[in-house]
């Protein structure tokens, strides 16, 4: 096909004998925000996990022209993909600062890293305040901020975000999504966004895919999907 940054072709994936995804194809362009929507259990999380090798898959997944087939999770991540999983993957045995350092630990350019730290603390001042504390002391919203900050520090080309709004108060969700949008625009980081909150996701993204029982049921421009009442009612629940 084209030269999309991320390309999934006919990907099927599952846990053991049960298949969760069936021949899913989707693509994310450089610098684009794409939403992945659908009900619980539709396979959204599995799709993200397939990309970072958390689950076995068949088909093909290409990132920046390279197939991810033979790579381990670490190798996929080192190609430039940051995955903030369900549950956020906060390293609770370590401090906030140590969590952040693990975001930037692969980067070599000192001055640039320092600049990014400044930005991160600008977006999320609470992280600077609680730098030395254990990450387990953060609230849900703060942990989400930490996860996002950490992902930003990885300077990825693509971010996989799994339900960033989960369990957060609406006002915090708004600010987090604003920051995601800023990151996407300033750093040209592509985002594959899995969200239950379809409205918010469609507002942010240019394209969207809707999964139903492991298959792509609907896809298209976000603006179109938002305007399409029947799609909204059948698949997006509003």
């Amino acid at each position: 096909m084209g030269s999309a940054l991320l390309e999934l072709q006919d990907v099927s994936a599952g846990y053991g004998p049960t298949s969760v995804l069936h021949a899913v194809s989707l693509s994310v362009e450089e610098g684009e925000i794409v939403s992945l929507l659908g009900a619980n259990g539709a396979g959204k999380t599995t799709t993200l996990r397939a990309i970072t090798r958390g689950v076995q898959w068949t088909g093909d997944i290409q990132f920046a022209g390279r197939s991810l087939r033979r790579m381990s999770t670490e190798e996929v991540v080192r190609c430039g993909i940051a995955h903030v999983p369900e549950g956020r993957g906060i390293l609770t045995e370590l401090t906030v600062e140590e969590n952040l350092r693990l975001g930037s630990h692969l980067r070599r350019n000192g001055p640039e890293v320092r600049k990014d730290y400044d930005r991160v603390f600008e977006y999320f001042p609470v992280l600077r305040e609680r730098r030395k504390l254990s990450a387990s002391t953060l609230s849900g919203g703060e942990q989400q901020m930490l996860a996002l900050a950490r992902a930003l520090l990885m300077k990825p080309r693509l971010m996989l975000l799994d339900e960033p709004s989960l369990g957060l108060a609406p006002i915090i969700v708004r600010s987090i999504f604003d920051i995601i949008r800023t990151i996407n625009q300033t750093d040209r980081v592509a985002v594959l966004l899995v969200e239950q909150n379809a409205n918010l996701a469609l507002e942010m993204s240019s394209h969207a895919y809707v999964l139903e029982v492991g298959r792509v049921a609907v896809k298209g421009q976000s603006s179109e999907l938002k305007g399409n009442e029947s799609v909204r009612k059948s698949y997006l629940g509003y």
């Binding site: 381990s72 991540v77 906060i90 390293l91 630990h105």
Partner: protein, 293 residues
């Protein structure tokens, strides 16, 4: 009073030895949730390597770090070759594998170096120096100094370097660390290498006191278990503190309790283990929860 101070100092020295081996156990426990029953035998083997170097004319202070490097490499090799294939196996399988390693190293040492006990040279003279009115031997002070340096180095490595950070992260949160690009498998190997080197320190320090032979570490490992359990099996700091407490306690018990002679000091260690496990299973510095993702 003087004698008490002497015994305490002596106990601190042996405590440094126990603490080093206990630290090795803790490092591997953190890496894979398992106590390496072969730690003592690996340390003994490394000590034999050092001995071989010294006997061939290598200066002690060169043989020492060279042995540590070799032990480090050996530890990594063992993790890659023997441990990795059974990484996800149940606890019992892993216990047997480490027991197999212990048997293997013991037999290998006997095969390569023989069973005749050897005198191991110490760079510290047995002369004593007067401290606070008590006589402390240079030997004891030397052991305390060397153990101290090694333990501080490990501490700095773990807490203040990026490598140490990734090691700790891989140990506590393997899956989440992978998503941050940490090569978890290699971090575990590194943990083994480090543990192996630290264990070697313990062996080299104790060899001048006992005689060097394949069974040398079989009692030391029990003291190290006691120290690790007392300190909290997950805590490197606990291993060191536990080592000191066990060292001093065992020394004092041997000196002042007539019932406890040389060979029953080991029973004191067992008593410590049992007491801790029954009264405060998490040890002094351990956390009650702490299960990894």
């Amino acid at each position: 009073m003087q004698e008490l101070i002497q015994q305490v100092l002596s106990g601190i020295a042996t405590g440094g030895i126990f603490g080093s081996l206990a630290l090795a156990l803790v490092l591997i426990y953190n890496a894979m949730g398992l106590v390496n029953f072969a730690q003592g035998e690996m340390a003994m083997f490394a000590t034999f390597v050092a001995f071989t170097l010294i006997v061939h004319g290598v200066n002690y202070w060169i043989a020492f770090p060279v042995t540590l490097v070799l032990a480090f490499a050996g530890g990594i090799a063992i993790q890659r070759i023997v441990i990795r294939p059974v990484e996800r196996a149940p606890v019992l399988t892993l216990v047997i594998v480490t027991l197999g390693l212990a048997t293997l190293f013991n037999g290998l040492a006997g095969f390569l170096f023989g069973y005749v006990p050897r005198a191991f040279p110490s760079p510290f003279s047995v002369q004593t120096v007067n401290i606070l009115g008590a006589f402390a031997s240079y030997q004891d002070l030397g052991v305390i100094a060397v153990s101290g340096v090694v333990l501080i180095a490990i501490y700095l490595l773990l807490e203040h370097t990026t490598v140490g950070l990734t090691m700790r992260s891989a140990a506590h949160h393997p899956e989440a660390s992978r998503l941050l690009g940490v090569r978890v498998s290699w971090m575990l190997a590194l943990g083994w290498g480090l543990a192996s080197a630290v264990g070697a320190v313990s062996g080299i320090m104790v060899a001048p006191i006992l005689l060097l032979e394949p069974d040398m570490m079989q009692t030391i490992i029990i003291y190290a278990f006691a120290a690790a359990v007392l300190g909290g099996i997950e805590s490197p700091l606990g291993a060191v503190v536990g080592g000191l407490i066990v060292g001093v306690t065992v020394n004092l018990a041997g000196a002042y309790i007539p019932f406890v002679g040389g060979d029953l000091q080991l029973a004191v260690a067992l008593a410590i283990i049992v007491a801790v496990l029954v009264l405060k299973p998490n040890g002094l510095f351990g956390r009650p929860t702490a299960r990894r993702v």
